[in-house]
Amino acid sequence: MTLSLIIFLPLLGALLPPLFIRLGRTACAWSAALLAGTALAILLYHSPAVFAGETLVFTQPWLPALGLNFSLRLDGLGLLFALLILGIGLLIILYARYYLSEHDPMGRFYGMLLLFMAAMLGIVLSENLLLLLVFWELTSLSSFLLIGYWKHRSDARQGARMALAITGGGGLAMLAGILLLGHITGSYELSVVLASAELIQAHALYPVTLALILLGAFTKSAQFPFHFWLPHAMAAPTPVSAYLHSATMVKAGVFLLARLFPALSGTELWFFLVAGTGTATLLLGAYHALFKHDLKGLLAYSTVSHLGLITLLFGIGTPLAAVAGVFHIINHATFKASLFMAAGIIDHETGTRDMRRLGGLWRFMPHTATLAMVAAASMAGVPLFNGFLSKEMFFAETLHAGWMGEWSWLLPLLATLAALFSVAYSVRFIHDVFFGTGPRDITRKPHEPPRYMKVPVEVLVALCLLVGILPAWTVAPLLAAAAASTVGAELPYYSLAIWHGFNLPLLMSLIALAGGVILYLLRFRLFALHDRIFPLCDAKAWFECGLARTIAVSHQLTAWLENGSLQRYAMLLVASVLIVIGTSLWGTTLTGPVAMGTVDGVTLTGALVLGVSALATVIWHRRRLAALVLLSVVGLVVSVAFVRFSAPDLALTQLSVEMVTILLLMLALYFLPQHSPAESSTARRWRDGLLAAGAGLSVAALAWGVLTRPLETISGYFLEQSKPGGGGSNVVNVILVDFRGFDTLGEITVLAIAAFGIYALLQGLRLPSPTTDGEGRPWAEDRHPLILSAVSRPLLPLALMVSLYILLRGHNLPGGGFIAGLVTAVALILQYVASGVVWTRERLPFDYIKLTASGVLVATLTGVASWWFAHPFLTSTFEYVQLPLLGKFELASAMVFDVGVYLTVVGSTLLILANLGKLTLVSQPHEETK
């Protein structure tokens, strides 16, 4: 449980610094430091168990159906990384307090830093691989924010975008890889995956899985050819570079290599992919580092190179190489973070990071210079510093790499070459900055930084020295614990001693040291040579160019797909649905085991009427009124079909809705052209016809497939309980007002909202009224034919009586609130048609909005009433209250709900139709256009 606190403290605590900034900058830094410190204390509290060889696991199911659990794991490797993250994180918090200027928003900085810290801790403490991936992506996001912290600078924005694109893309590949891994092993839990090495490596999908996961690791750890984002991420504030780009985030990739080392390593493929990439990165980084004039650029490429070295070590695949890899992770984190901080101090004090302008700073800041020299010596691999120890182990391992056959001499040679460059750029870092002539063109006089800005550097440099001189007394237990959980088996024998006798690795070190110094002395000639060979090698320009091209292509694609034509969208929508349905239906057995019923003549006739009128609607759709008449034939036959198949409620509803729809369409048609122009090309008509035929065929096939299969109904309960539980014998109505009353409440609410929306849309709408019909004939003079209005008036009470009857007995026989409401609405609309708006409104002074609202209110209050009986909303009290008297009440309560439905339906239907009808009253006649 407390394990999760290590992650959650910084995660939730990320909100604190932005709040504490109101109390001042120091308070803000303290809030961040306290959170990180507490997390560190919890970690240390757990560490003895880990040193004793235990693996702490905490599991909390999250989305078990997906295999995603919130499960954490604290073993040696996790402990090492968590210590690095929290320890260096604390130093960074202290450093940033003095590094950030008054104008920088410090609260935001610490907030994002804590967020990043939490994400990193999540990666290293995850037991579940999917959880790991979630945190992995979170680091990409939070590092994007941190790199782009100075958002007013375009290089910061571009660098952040590049880092996000590369690491995010790698993360996607890794997601695929992890899913494959889960598919192979059947679990996403690390303990299962790590124990299934043989299963994984024998699987046919192993090469794909490995490549995808490595893609994730390599992009994160800036391995060749994805290394170029790291130098551009140096636009970030220096504390960010020191933290993310030396100690933590870029280590996430190699952490993953170490984490999955037992499961994935040991094959030839692993060796060539990982060691090959590592070697290329090692050389490339070391070479470029020498030629960077920017201090942070040099450090960035040096980081790339060292990450390549670590990758190469894991690629070699022997347990000893893995130990060396873990060791170098520790050492690199300490010396590189301190070097970044030193570079930050220099930048802070002189205002420049260009080594061609710097020089001679020893005179101004001897303290900082000393610290930087120690760290640089460690980077160069000088004896007595920690870098030397892991570099010696690295040299020794390159000599023993398998798989290389007769080319086995190549690896030590390349390693020595890289080390030679590494010495050269380390010397350059020190000599060009602190010695020689200069500084040049510096506006202010440099001096030592504030006291506490140096403390983090001092701590790290002290660690470099301590580990370098007394390895067995300092780092040995941690290294052993971490290496043991990396290798996953018994650790091989290794010695952390400084002196192993005069052997080949030592010789390689000496060659590198001597060669590096010589290389440095020749640097000016080399710079000239480099400038001639690599004038165009700017990965950033390539990236930006590629980005611009991608954006252009996606613009084109969007313009092609989304050209603003709704007609086209509808076509694409239908086509894609067709493809999805078609492909899934293809090849399946459609016909089920149930025998077909016989067709009688009347039904066949009805089907004929339906089919012909539907087709005729399509054929004459351009003559709109005729098509509308044909459409009502279709509606009528559908209603009769509902009767034929024993659904009287549906038939009643369909009939009334169809009539209301036809009225609605006629009201609209008045304001629209009476004919559609013939504007579809033959090709388009054919295309649409084919699409429509395909869709029809799929739906028919689907219906056929279902109809010939036996029914497994879930309605048994409703049929049984309708009478005793719902108090009504019309099960459809009881479902609507009782069993699924809540759905119905939602539905009438939607109806009311739609009516209000229509009312609002019609407000202020002015449409020209046509003065002639479609053929250019003037309208008849007689507005309200006498016979029609005279007969319609006595029909109204008759129709209202019918609707009342339908409403009241709907619970027991076909009918109910919906149908009764529609019938009432149609009866009232008839009065509008026969006698006009003015006449009707004089005699029918209801406010339809209030009527609709009161309907919803009545239905809701019926539901609330059941609270009064201490039952959930809309509960049928009948079921629970045994008293016969209250049983009767329940019956009444369902009826009241139905009355609410009725009022809503009447109100909204009239609101829609009457307001559409009223449009002509406000419209002005317009000039006839021919």
Binding site: R777, D782, P785, I787, V791, L795, L798
Partner: protein, 115 residues
């Protein structure tokens, strides 16, 4: 059920159906709209009337009593059928539909004679 009643019901049903068919034949066969208007409005309505009489006879002898629906349907139909016919004729006159020679009436002139 008594045979006589059953025979009566059957008779009414057949008469009703026959009238409905006659109405539809008229609708389909007669040469112009004003003639066609006669078929459905008279024969078909009568046909439905016959059906309903048969239904009333049938259900009332089965002890379910006189049903309100049938009465209402009849009432509705007999009130509304003339009105819809009237409205349709009005519309047709307004639209000056083409007619055959024999169709004569105020406002309904053979097409060639239209103003």
């Amino acid at each position: 059920m008594e045979t006589i009643i059953e025979a009566l019901v059957a008779l009414f049903l057949l008469i009703g159906a026959a009238f409905a068919l006659v109405g539809s034949i008229g609708l389909a066969k007669l040469p112009d709209f004003f003639m066609r208007l006669h078929g459905p409005t008279k024969a078909t309505t009568l046909g439905v009337g016959g059906m309903i009489v048969g239904s009333v006879l049938y259900f009332s002898t089965r002890g379910e009593g006189l049903s309100l629906h049938e009465l209402l349907v009849t009432l509705f139909l007999f009130i509304t059928a003339p009105v819809s016919a009237h409205m349709l004729a009005k519309a047709a006159l307004h639209l000056r539909l083409r007619t055959v020679e024999r169709t004569r009436g105020e406002g309904a002139l053979p097409r060639g004679d239209a103003e």
